[in-house]
Symmetry: C2
Subunit: 345 residues, 2 copies
DNA sequence: ATCATTTGATATGACGTTTCAATGCCACGG
DNA sequence: CCGTGGCATTGAAACGTCATATCAAATGAT
């Protein structure tokens, strides 16, 4: 067991060496190559370490090694459980590689993002995973220029100068709307915005494509723009939908993410609409709260954890494999049909 | 602007010194005490730093300083947004003190918790905030014994050997049930478990106390135990409630947290019960998803961000103030009444 | 018994930053 | 002309760990 907190300074290898009556190098050997040191001295050193409560000093180790044993993930929106699931996937992979994971949250603010990145570079992390607010921001280029392994998560890179991992959002939009058409809907809202977000654009694009393929009139796919992808915005979109004249009012809505869908659902229930009979709802991401909603939400599932695991795998490859080539990993989204579109039998 | 990634090694103060034609100490002065160096050389050094793309090496800095510039929060359940709000409060305070924050997630598993703590000690973080799975675990004592500033979040310490921050859970239980009694309920369920969790015990205790004070028969406050504080468990509790004979069936439920309440709500809606008419529901924590539910949930609010901010304040005090005395900060919870108990007028 | 080989332990220096005592420089007053 | 003091800069040492080269002792082969 370890001693009470001593004089204030944590014990170092030097202290252990003195206590065990061996040289400093031997202590280091016990730590890093136990095989090379005899059983008898090893035990003596180990006892000394336990007595003193010795713990490796990671900064010193890093300084010596030149790099830290950590990855970092800068997520876009800490309030959206989607990103936590991604983070968990990353952590799983990091754990397996015996690396720590720093989780940061930019909350969509580029300046916070830049600040985090700055800190992470100072920490000399082995690699940075990020879901950026703006995939073309200058500070992202900076990371690559410094030679720090770098993967974009849930966004595609325009430049191709690095790896990225995401689902096919156009396809996601297609399957969501195809499902609604299948269920017989002829007037559908697309709820989502702002258009500056790539995902929103692509999901809408997929929706429009399949709508056109079925030969449905363009004006019956109604875009209800939002300021952000939040529950509040979903609720307010609901109000706007309710304000439409009944012959223009859609019978179903496809929301750009689950938070919007939850907000819309809340509005619908409050307004006394039956879901799915009066209004069917499809979300995107399939976060746990989608399945947990009062009316379980149909949603387009992204393989969240796998997204994270793959991203971690790519960044580790870039960090260790000299022949690494950048890769744009694309996953296929899947529709999970629940009560918000399918009447309970 | 900075150079392309160069030979592979990041430039050090030494490189900057050489490039600027000054001594290494001067570069350090520019970084740490810009006032003592003359304008002319300072500018020269700054230019050199920019040219080379110099970034401080944090490990070296830490090694020299003996301590890192970071706090850490080990949270109990990454899937529960409550803890993220706490983490945000901590981060706000950390930011203000110019410290980084490591966010870890034990997911309720003591061995993961211990592993994280181990890593954090190796990193020589300035302080550790933690919502532990078991407040009496040995590895927590270990932290204090090492002299690392340490605050327990959302749990009270039995020993009193450190600071802690939490709301008065007994009071929380009281106000929840008092609200239900006010609304005329005479048979109420307490949904929550396992009893190993202190919060659950105390919230139940508060519920029972106020129940007794109103002279209501003990057997009409029905404890529906759960295995965990999750949405799934809430749903299954709903099934058990529905299975009760109607004369024993409660007209309201107080859930030990909001996730349970959401699960219970889902079950109720699916089963065709009207909320609050057939079943009123009160949650605990007041996470954002409570207000966002299809039937907005009445909940006992904890000042989540403030909990975090205060915890950070305490840990910083312990880290910097030699006369620090441990403090058990208690916050007062407040009932937020919403549609799950109060019929819309 | 002698020399080659293995095994175990040591001593040294480097990683990048910061601090602190020491140095050189210059202007000023005596 | 010399001493004093202030200012800007320098050089060296230290933080804790780890790897490399070195050294000593013990083992085995002849």
């Amino acid at each position: 067991m370890s001693q009470p907190s001593r004089n204030g300074r944590a014990p170092s290898v030097k202290d252990v060496a003195k206590a065990a009556g061996v040289s400093l190098g031997t202590v280091s050997n016990v730590l890093n190559r136990p095989a090379v040191v005899s059983t008898i001295t090893r035990e003596r050193v180990e006892r000394a370490m336990a007595d003193l409560g010795f713990v490796r000093n990671e900064s010193a180790r890093q300084l010596r090694a030149g790099t830290s044993r950590a990855l970092a993930y800068v997520m876009l929106d800490g309030g959206n459980p989607f990103f936590h699931d991604v983070a968990e996937g990353i952590e799983t992979a990091a754990e397996a590689a015996d690396l720590s994971l720093f989780v940061c949250n930019s909350n969509g603010r580029p300046e916070r993002e830049a600040k985090h990145i700055d800190r992470l570079i100072q920490q000399r992390v082995q690699g940075i995973l990020i879901t950026p607010a703006d995939p073309d921001a200058a500070h992202l280029e900076e990371i690559a220029r410094r030679g720090i392994p770098f993967v974009m998560v849930d966004r595609f890179s325009s430049s191709g100068g690095h790896c990225s991992v995401a689902v096919d959002d156009v396809l996601g939009g297609r399957i969501a709307v195809e499902h609604l058409i299948d269920r017989g809907h002829q007037r559908v809202a697309f709820v989502g915005g702002p258009a500056s977000i790539g995902q929103v654009r692509e999901r809408l694009q997929g929706a429009r494509a399949v709508w056109a393929e079925f030969g449905l009139p363009e004006e019956d796919l109604i875009h209800v723009p939002t300021e952000a992808l939040t529950v509040n915005e979903g609720r307010s979109a609901g109000e706007r939908l309710a304000g439409l004249p009944s012959r223009r009012r859609p019978t179903a809505a496809f929301c750009a993410n689950d938070l919007l869908a939850l907000g819309l659902l809340q509005h619908a229930v409050t307004a006394g609409l039956r879901v799915p009979d009066d209004l069917a709802i499809v979300g995107f991401d399939d976060i746990d709260f989608a399945a947990a909603a009062a009316v379980p939400l149909t949603s387009v599932r992204q393989p969240r954890q796998e997204l994270g695991r793959t991203a971690a795998r790519l960044v580790l490859d870039e960090a260790t494999n000299p022949e690494h080539i950048h890769e744009q990993a694309t996953f296929v989204p899947a529709l999970v049909a629940r009560a918000s579109t399918v009447r309970r039998s």
